[in-house]
Symmetry: C2
Subunit: 269 residues, 2 copies
């Protein structure tokens, strides 16, 4: 029987999980798992619910990212990860675009197959320490020199939380280039609708039967709801109490962490 | 007698001049004068017109800036320079603000008198190579940790031209922090009305009798016109032909360079 107040947890067949701030807090040390999350992933799989990780992570290839998560105790595989770089590669190929990459060094292998000579677009990821003045200026000069500047941003997050504190995310640098070049970036990754639709296709469950669980009120919760999914905000990762007064976005429910969300959802099965 | 088409040049008693892109093109090598500009400054002074430099330069103290301009052949003095850092110091003092500075190393002496312990605002200048990821992240963390974040930006230019090409200006980084922290920066410098009003007060001429001459269609031309001045765009510095189709701003006239502007204005005296 449905428990009072948990109507949002009914009729679920699959879950999309954000990773950083939900499964673990990232950091230079490799990061630390969030208490109960590794066990929660195991319980989801044991329950028969489908699961897909839906991440804007662009500091590593999917292979390296999964290796790191497995080392932290998470039972996940590469096919269970939807990430912006492979989606961007599909888009670049479809449109015959040759990217100049301003991304984290460890992401570069994802673009190995693409022609990068004489670039006709800029691809921006969470480059972190690679966001030097010289590198941002190089991307700026390429863009402003194009007849029709094309800027593709892998996500548009404002910041994320690492073990040693908050870090500026790719969205801040996207805004810098948008302003300097008077262009609008195309976002590949959350909260873009096409990205959530890819994740749902890989999950194999329609939007009405899926729940997104994330720590970002705009990219995770708002984006998923725009696609017809339910969405929960966890009070871990970059969650801040002021998120609960967001003027545009209201999650279907707040949960203290992934483990609590899974407790409630499994009780409703 | 007024020459046909030069009505904009009548009844002038003083000129405000932008510096980078009008007097000289800046660069790591100290920059190079724009042909005819040093002679034009001399002719303005000889004519009895008043002159004030109105610059968003924030890579040096006014003293060092004037020393550089004099070495390039410009007959100018410190009292003839209106620049953002002294204006920001006045504002910080009036409001009891203790700044964290993200500015060019050579600008720091302008803030020597201010208390910078336990900062309650961030002051952003054209920090150039100081715009590392670590430095921008430090400013971000301070801002997002404030109960009421205060971000003061010394100008909001998109880019400027140096001898080796276009360079990202402070406005791009202002937009990055505005987005990351969900705040609106307070701009000290062009195109802020209060900044032009300070420059006019130092010029000692009312807006209706002054002409602003600059290479930036928005900061120079648009800002000056908002204050009731006439404004010319020179076709030097960062000028681009597409500026002539700007959707919001139309200068009172275009001139090829400062020398041509001064030719026309002196003929109308």
């Amino acid at each position: 029987a449905a428990m009072a107040g948990y109507g949002w947890a009914r009729a679920v067949r699959g879950l999309l999980l954000d990773v950083s701030g939900v499964l673990y807090d990232s950091g230079a040390d490799g990061g630390v798992p969030i208490a109960g999350s590794a066990e929660a992933v195991r319980r989801i799989k044991a329950s028969g619910l489908k699961l897909q990780l839906c991440t804007n992570e662009t500091q590593a290839t999917r292979e390296d990212f999964v290796r790191k998560l497995r080392a932290l105790g998470f039972d996940v595989s590469v096919s269970e990860v939807t990430a912006p770089a492979p989606a961007a590669c599909r888009l670049l190929r479809e449109r015959g675009l040759r990217p100049h990459l301003l991304v984290h060094h460890d992401l570069i292998p994802e673009f190995a197959e693409l022609d990068k000579t004489n670039p006709n677009c800029v691809v921006l990821g969470d480059a972190a320490e690679n966001f030097t003045y010289a590198n941002l200026n190089e991307a700026f000069r390429l863009l402003i020199g194009m007849e029709k500047p094309v800027l593709i941003s892998l996500g548009k997050g404002r910041y994320y939380k690492e073990t040693d504190g908050l870090k500026l995310d790719v969205g801040a640098y996207m805004k810098a280039l948008e302003y300097a070049c008077d262009v609008q970036a195309e976002v590949v990754g959350k909260p873009a609708k096409s990205f959530f639709e890819s994740a749902l296709a890989e999950l194999g469950v329609p939007a009405e039967q899926a729940i997104m669980i994330g720590d970002d009120i705009v990219s995770d919760v708002g984006g998923a709801q725009q696609c017809g999914m339910r969405a929960l905000q966890v009070r871990t990762g970059k969650y801040r109490p002021s998120d609960e007064n967001h003027p545009q976005v209201k999650p279907d429910a707040y949960v203290n962490n992934l483990a609590e969300a899974v407790d409630i959802i499994l009780q409703q099965l």
